[in-house]
């Protein structure tokens, strides 16, 4: 058995990992995305010059072309270049007719010099003949017909299907849906991959204008990516306490109760960068964009248009996304804005919205922040009196705790650096004040 593990980020990666000449079975209930996935297999192959043949028992050619054009796949153009052929076949009612269909498919593969084939669906194609004969015909067609040709083939199968096709297939991909709130979550499961060790077997995906896109996770990167450059938080005393600011590319977690000044500190950090000419990104899971700008204007007295060009603000309603969709969306926003500094405000909404997947989603977001190399602040509503045993602390580079001190009949905002990796930070508690729009630590 091949010792390579299967690690894919896109559907194209997945198909590229499958050896030429394999038989792939895509199975799933109606509407799970089987046709789109198979179409992507043909489309990506054709873009690389591999001729594809699509045999369907359902959609007519014009319906298929239109359907796939809406997914960003221009099969008409591929047809024009003789890289794609579409055949619609009626469902055979006798085994002799089924034999003729299989023989015709083999002929067409030779005639078109096609190296990729899709049969959509094998369940429908064999539905009109006794199961025993359908299985035998399918086995002969696959083992003695397709395999010697070296054709990489996809059989689409409805669930439950014949069952037998799973045994024939080298790779079995199962598509399914689940419901989260009022949204559909789609999953692709690698059920079988002959000759390969598959470690990760289940991928969430979206089905949209770009076809099927896997919502893959980010690999965890080490602290700071090896940089020794320091970045100012915009608060001189905090920089001093941290041992000279934070490292570029690091992730800092700001913990504290509501009203203590977490968002203020995160904004301070961004405004400092924007004023220095850096692209910065503020992602808020709580407030709307309008609320934020008025907050910045009144708190800092800042002329918003002077930094607006570099200061991107995104308000995210977590309930609009499934956990993986959220990470993908953030990834796209970051990719689009290319910020050097990122503040992720009100991260507790991620924990609340996604419940038992909240923590793992936040971990994915931290991995994403690391992977892009921007210096990031995450604010999280947290009562530090309940302790600091939050497992998340181990994943971030710096932890800054903030709390309210009610002693001596007045309220004081307090701050302390709990953790600052690879730094000689001070451990004292300091009072924070806001004077003329500036955050001052005494």
């Amino acid at each position: 058995m091949c010792s390579h593990t299967l690690e894919v980020r896109t559907v194209d990666d997945l198909f590229a990992a499958i050896p030429r000449g394999s038989l792939i079975l895509i199975k799933g209930a109606s509407g799970t995305g089987k046709t789109t996935l198979a179409a992507q297999f043909i489309y990506h192959g054709a873009l690389r010059g591999e001729v594809g043949l699509y045999v369907s028992t359902y959609e007519r050619r014009d319906e298929f072309l239109e359907h796939m054009a809406s997914m960003g796949m221009n099969f008409k153009e591929l047809e024009r270049k003789n890289l794609f052929y579409y055949i619609h076949v009626p469902i055979p009612r006798e085994v002799k007719c089924l034999e003729e269909v299989f023989a015709a498919i083999l002929e067409k593969l030779g005639e078109y010099r096609a190296s990729r084939l899709v049969i959509d669906s094998v369940t429908a194609l064999t539905a009109g003949v006794p199961e025993r004969e359908a299985r035998a015909a399918l086995q002969v067609f696959t083992v003695y017909g397709l395999k010697p040709l070296g054709t990489t083939t996809i059989f689409i199968s409805e669930v439950p299907g014949l069952g037998f096709e799973q045994y024939l297939a080298d790779v079995v991909l199962e598509l399914s849906t689940e419901y989260w709130e009022d949204r559909v979550r789609r999953f692709l499961k690698v059920q079988k991959f002959r000759g390969r060790v598959v470690e990760k077997v289940r991928y969430e995906f979206t089905l949209g204008s770009r076809g099927i896109e896997l919502l893959t996770t980010h690999a965890f990167r080490g602290v700071y990516s090896g940089t020794s450059l320091r970045v100012s938080t915009g608060v001189p005393k905090l920089d001093e306490v941290l041992g000279g600011g934070v490292y570029r590319g690091s992730v800092t977690l700001l913990l504290g109760p509501s009203g203590v000044g977490k968002s203020l500190l995160a904004l301070h950090f961004l405004i400092h960068g924007a004023r220095a000419g850096e692209n910065v990104l503020y992602i808020d899971f709580g407030e709307s964009t309008e609320d934020l700008w008025s907050y910045v204007r009144t708190t800092y007295g800042i002329d918003v248009p002077s930094i607006e060009e570099r200061f991107r603000v995104v308000a995210v309603d977590t309930y609009r996304y499934t956990p993986r969709e959220l990470v993908k969306y953030l990834s796209e926003v970051i990719d689009h804005t290319k910020p050097l500094r990122i503040a992720l405000d009100n991260a507790q909404h991620v924990l609340i919205t996604y419940d038992n997947e909240g923590y793992s989603t936040l971990v994915q977001i931290i991995k994403l922040l690391r992977s892009v190399g921007a210096t990031s602040f995450i604010t999280l509503l947290w009562d530090i009196e309940t302790g600091l045993s939050l497992p998340l602390l181990a994943l971030v580079d710096n932890v800054i705790a903030m709390w309210l001190d009610f002693s001596n009949q007045r309220v004081r905002r307090m701050i302390s650096v709990v953790k600052a990796k690879k730094s000689r930070h001070e451990t004292g508690a300091y009072e924070i004040k806001v004077v003329d729009g500036k955050l001052i630590i005494e």
Binding site: L98, F102, E133, Y144, G145, P148
Partner: protein
């Protein structure tokens, strides 16, 4: 020589689609009418069958044996499997034609 094409038709009784698939590959790989090659150059047909069985001789022999047994069953005749395979491999077209004729004669009755 057209009656030899019955041989391929009968293979579809062995397993649905088998005759059609073998006919397709023989034509593709040999570039001529497979019926004619089957009678004149059985060794070539054997080589194609071997290719279809991923180059494995033992599997190919077993594959031929399965076919011959099915023909025996369908036609009610007895054929020496060892001889059938030997004749094919040694390209003894005359002897192979005799065996085929006997098979086809029974097949015609079935047809």
């Amino acid at each position: 020589m057209s009656h030899y094409s019955l041989f391929f038709k009968l293979l579809n009784y062995v397993a649905p689609n088998l005759g059609s698939v073998l006919y397709f590959h023989l034509k593709r790989l040999l570039g001529r009418d497979p019926t004619e090659i089957l009678v004149k150059e059985p060794r070539k047909v054997y080589e194609v069958l071997k290719t279809l069985n991923a180059g494995d001789e033992r599997t190919t022999d077993f594959f031929i044996e399965s076919i011959v047994r099915a023909i025996e069953r369908e036609c009610g005749i007895t054929i020496s499997i060892t001889e059938f395979i030997y004749v094919m491999k040694s390209n003894d077209s005359e002897r192979f034609r005799e065996i085929l004729d006997r098979m086809v004669k029974h097949m015609e009755k079935l047809a």
